[in-house]
Structure formats: structure tokens, C-alpha cells
Subunit: 322 residues, 2 copies
């Protein structure tokens, strides 16, 4: 029987300590030319919205996976009937391994990719973290940051005081650390070694001059020329600009907000930074990871979770039989 | 909870008397410009094969549906883990209505489209039917033909005598009629008003001179310039050539085997024939429907089956409560 899992099934199995190395495995395979990662494919159903597909996979010694994630941009509440669906095949054996229907998988794999960026781009001694935004992406980015760096201080800002208080309380428990809400974005950013920018803002939410020397930024929100959450003049400060998907960064309907900057000429593939690590940064330069969503990564994450689910179920069957 | 159905769930609900009018509804919507029917989208996962997506939907007064069917061309047996998946959204409300995972839905909607072609292209007095091929497509094409015309005689040929005998016995029961295996394709075709050509043959399985005056052909199998189950000289005999998807007919990696013929210049969209019916044919001319697979039709068929399943379940809950 085909395995179809929902958020309820996979939430107990999600762990950044598994997912971050898994994303590194994918990125190393990508660097060796063993992944399939085309830009998103979308089909318009006017006037309601689109279906958007990220289709991809990888082939390494042990694994040959193919699959896709699909989501819609139709109106309506984000409820159980507005879920994203991920499907995974073992492409070598020709088997559909299963489906995962829900919301959390996409956020966790994006979080894990953000963790990889922090691990390979930020200073090893980064301790203080700013989080702008309190949605699902902000949550998984912070979980990933906490899995890669020894955070001593996390400051959270979003426009709604209630949201930032609730986020701070929940995340303090999850990362077993100090997470405080702040009354302004500046208060959060100006003390931070790591800045997680995960808003839906179409205009800049921080000023470049607030950034500490040596800071690293993970940017998740709007990044188009006409709508972007980071200021364009950030390009003048950054010495390393990377993305998980150069195909996707160049594949949006609008240009990337930094595409016209000199920094864009040196845009790095995160896969290269993982496969060919450079000595750790210790200087005061500023680095930016622009998260675009690398096709195929959700397929590998889903395959891992389907496998963990099967093993956990077998374990519980054995336990109850024993 | 999201509804995920398998073949076992939907087989009891499949009925050509529902599906043929449903496909006509789709084709009328298409003729009015209210459907989304791009050619297939496929992504290569070398060296194993592809994932192939048909994405589509429709918008009429009562319905706004979007969705897709996906299948793989990876090696491996056609088993429960090599299934096709269809997903359906109500695009107006933004709800994922459900998924159907299996094999039969694709074959039944292709059958129903073949039924529409027979209804609108063949002579109303067509009685004798030839079937070349004994697979799932041959089966549903014959079920659809029997739903549209009063068949008095069905002759079935395929290379394997056991396959044609088993097919004849099964279909005789299903259509409650006379279905006989024949020892050659010619014996089946030379007496037929309707010819269903549903083989996987890469070379012609019939000769044009075998065709009766007035015959109509539904062709399902290979139709590329370098691999085709019908002879190219059939173009000289046909006075009406139609397909369900002109987009797809022109969207294959290779040209259609008739694309260089004069008949191709008059290629009709089945949607036009449904929306603007012409007087029934009574002469001796020969007509051909080349089935290419119209995107979105499986989405409408799936929405119908999900709804029927819900109603049947509600009915049985009420019955057991009563």
C-alpha cells in the first residue's frame, strides 16, 4: 500500500541534526553534477492563481531519487485542504515511495538549507542572532541556526508585539536558549552576528548601516527587483553572496533585486561552498545567503522521512510483538 | 482529512455513461475558451527515465478545477508502487479536493474521450467493431464504443492468442454482447465500422486497403514519425482527422506521423466537433481520431469520482445509521 503521510505523522520525525547533513549530501551531489534541479514550473489558472511545481532529484552511489513538490497560489485559508504535496520515486527501481501532504516539510528543508548556509558562510564564533519575521520560515531558520552555532542571544522582531512575544517564548523552549522580543528591527539587528530575514515585506525591513561587522544574513522573503525585504545598497557591503539555486535565482519572472549589482557577478552556488570549503571567516566582512529554493531537496528530505516513518512503525510493531 | 483514493476505491464508481458526458462537458468548455490544457511537461532523470506531468483544468459556471496527473517512465514492474497520481483542486475556493493514485483513472478518461470521438465522428449506424490490442486502453475504448453505439459484433486481435481469447471472454460479459477473437488483424478490420487501434506497435498493424467504406478509427498507440501503429497512406483515405489535443499533437518531441500529410492541414479539434455538431455521416468516407491525451480531462474525471466516493460513503453511513 502506498505510504501517504501528513504533518501529524512527520512532525515527530523532524530533526535539524538529520536534515542539515542531508541537505549537505544533496549539495555535494549537485556540485558533482548528480542532481536534477530545474527552475520551478508553473501553470496559470486565471483568475484564481497558479499551480507551482518544483521537480527534481539526485543520483549518488546509494540513492537515485526523483520527485516533486506542488503548491497552489489559489485564494482561501491555509488549512488542511490547502496543503503542499511532495511525491518521491526511487528512480532506479521505478517505485513511487510515497507522498507527504502538508506544510511543515517545505519549511523544514528550507530551514535546513539555511542551516547549511550558516554553517559554511557565517563566522564560526557567531553567537548573537536576530530574527525578523515570526512565521514558519523564521521558525525553522532559527532552529537550523541553533543547530549550527552556539547561540547565546536571540532577538526577534515583527510588527505585531503579540506575535513576537509568542515566537520568543516558543523558540526559547525549543532551542533551550535566550530568545527576546524587541520593539524595533534595529534593536534586533544592530547586535547580531546572524540575521535571519524571513518576512513577507515588499519594502526593506532593515538598514544596511545597522549591520555589525562580520554579520551573516539568511534572506528568505521577497527578493524581486520591485519587491524586496532587504535594501539594495546591501550589495555594497557584502563580500560573499550565495544562493542555493542559481537556476531559480535567474528563473523568476522579475529580476532578483541584486541582479544589477557588482556582487551578482560573484554570486556563489551554496553547493560549491559545501563541496570546496574555504577557511572560516574571521574578518569584518558581511555575507548574504539568498534562499531561492533548490529543486529536489524536498524530495531527498521526503525520502528520508518516509524511511524514518517506516522504521519507526516497524520498531513499534516489533516492540508490541516482543 | 485529505481524501486519497486508490483503484480499489474508484473501480466500483467508474461508468462510461457518466464519464462520456463529463468529457463532452470539458470539450464544450474548451471550445468556449474555459479550459487550461498545455502540452505535457516532463523532466528527465537520466539514465532512468522521466517524470511526465499533464497539468490542466477548467472553469465553467458551476466548476473551477485545477490539477494534474503525473506518471514516471522509470524501469520496474507496473505494480502498486508504479502508479499514476492525479491531484485535484477547487481553484475558486483554494482547496485540494483529493488525490487518486492508481492506473484505472487514466485509462477510463482516455476511453471516455474515445467514446466522445465515436459519438461525434462515426456513422450513427456503426455496428461492427474491430479491436487491435488487448491492454487497458483497448478495454476502455471498447467499453466506451459499446456505450455510444449498438454493437452487434466485436472482433479482437492481438499477437498472443491467449490474450485475445481472455479479452474476448471478459469484454463479452462486460458489454453483454458478441466478442470474438480473430486469427489475424485483417479478419477483424475488414468487416468493421469502428476500428479501435490500441497497440504498442511501432510499425503499422493494419493496411489501409482493409478498411471498410464508412469506417471510423480510434487510434491510441504510437503515432510518431519514426514509430506508428497506423500506415502513413491512411492519410489518403480519411476525410476527417481529429484529435483531443492539438497542443499535444504538436508538442511531442517527434512530429506526428501524419503531420506532413494534406489531412493534417484540416486537423480538427474534437472540442469543435462536440460544440458545433455537423449532420451525422452516412457516406463511405473514412474518419480518424488520433488520441493524444487532453490535459485537464483527468482532473475533471477525478473530481467527479472524489465527489461520487464522498456521496457513496455518506449514503452508506446514513444507511448503517438508519
Amino acid at each position: 500500500m502506498l505510504l501517504v503521510l501528513t504533518d501529524e505523522d512527520i512532525v515527530p520525525l523532524l530533526d535539524m541534526r538529520d536534515l542539515i547533513p542531508l541537505m549537505e549530501e544533496f549539495l555535494r551531489a549537485r556540485d558533482s553534477g548528480h542532481t536534477v534541479t530545474p527552475p520551478r514550473h508553473s501553470v496559470e489558472f486565471a483568475p484564481f492563481g497558479k499551480l507551482v511545481f518544483t521537480i527534481g532529484g539526485l543520483k549518488t552511489g546509494a540513492r537515485a531519487l526523483a520527485g516533486f513538490r506542488v503548491y497552489d497560489t489559489f485564494p482561501g485559508p491555509d488549512d488542511e485542504f490547502d496543503a503542499q504535496t511532495v511525491a518521491v520515486w526511487d528512480s532506479k527501481r521505478g517505485s513511487l515511495l510515497g507522498l507527504i501532504v502538508g506544510w511543515v516539510l517545505g519549511e523544514w528543508r528550507t530551514g535546513a538549507l539555511g542551516g547549511v548556509a550558516i554553517k559554511h558562510m557565517s563566522r564560526p564564533d557567531a553567537r548573537r542572532c536576530a530574527v525578523l519575521g515570526t512565521g514558519g520560515q523564521a521558525r525553522t531558520q532559527l532552529l537550523a541556526a541553533a543547530a549550527c552555532r552556539s547561540l547565546t542571544e536571540v532577538r526577534v522582531y515583527s510588527r505585531d508585539p503579540q506575535h513576537r512575544r509568542a515566537f520568543a517564548a516558543e523558540l526559547a523552549t525549543l532551542i533551550k536558549g535566550d530568545v527576546q522580543p524587541t520593539a524595533s528591527a534595529q534593536e534586533a539587528v544592530e547586535h547580531a552576528d546572524l540575521v535571519i530575514c524571513a518576512t513577507s515585506s515588499k519594502t526593506p525591513v532593515l538598514e544596511t548601516k545597522w549591520l555589525c561587522p562580520g554579520a551573516h544574513i539568511n534572506a528568505l522573503g521577497p527578493k524581486m527587483l520591485n519587491e524586496h525585504e532587504l535594501p539594495t545598497d546591501i550589495a555594497e557591503r557584502i563580500t560573499l553572496l550565495a544562493t542555493d539555486s542559481i537556476e531559480q535565482a535567474n528563473g523568476y519572472p522579475e529580476p532578483h533585486f541584486l541582479a544589477a549589482s557588482a556582487a551578482w557577478n560573484h554570486l556563489q552556488d551554496l553547493a560549491t561552498l559545501v563541496a570546496k570549503p574555504v577557511p572560516p571567516r574571521l574578518g569584518g566582512d558581511i555575507t548574504l545567503f539568498s534562499s531561492c529554493g533548490l529543486a529536489g531537496t524536498e524530495v531527498l528530505a521526503a525520502a528520508h522521512l518516509l524511511e524514518r516513518y517506516r522504521l519507526a512503525r516497524q520498531g513499534s510493531i516489533h516492540a508490541s510483538a516482543g
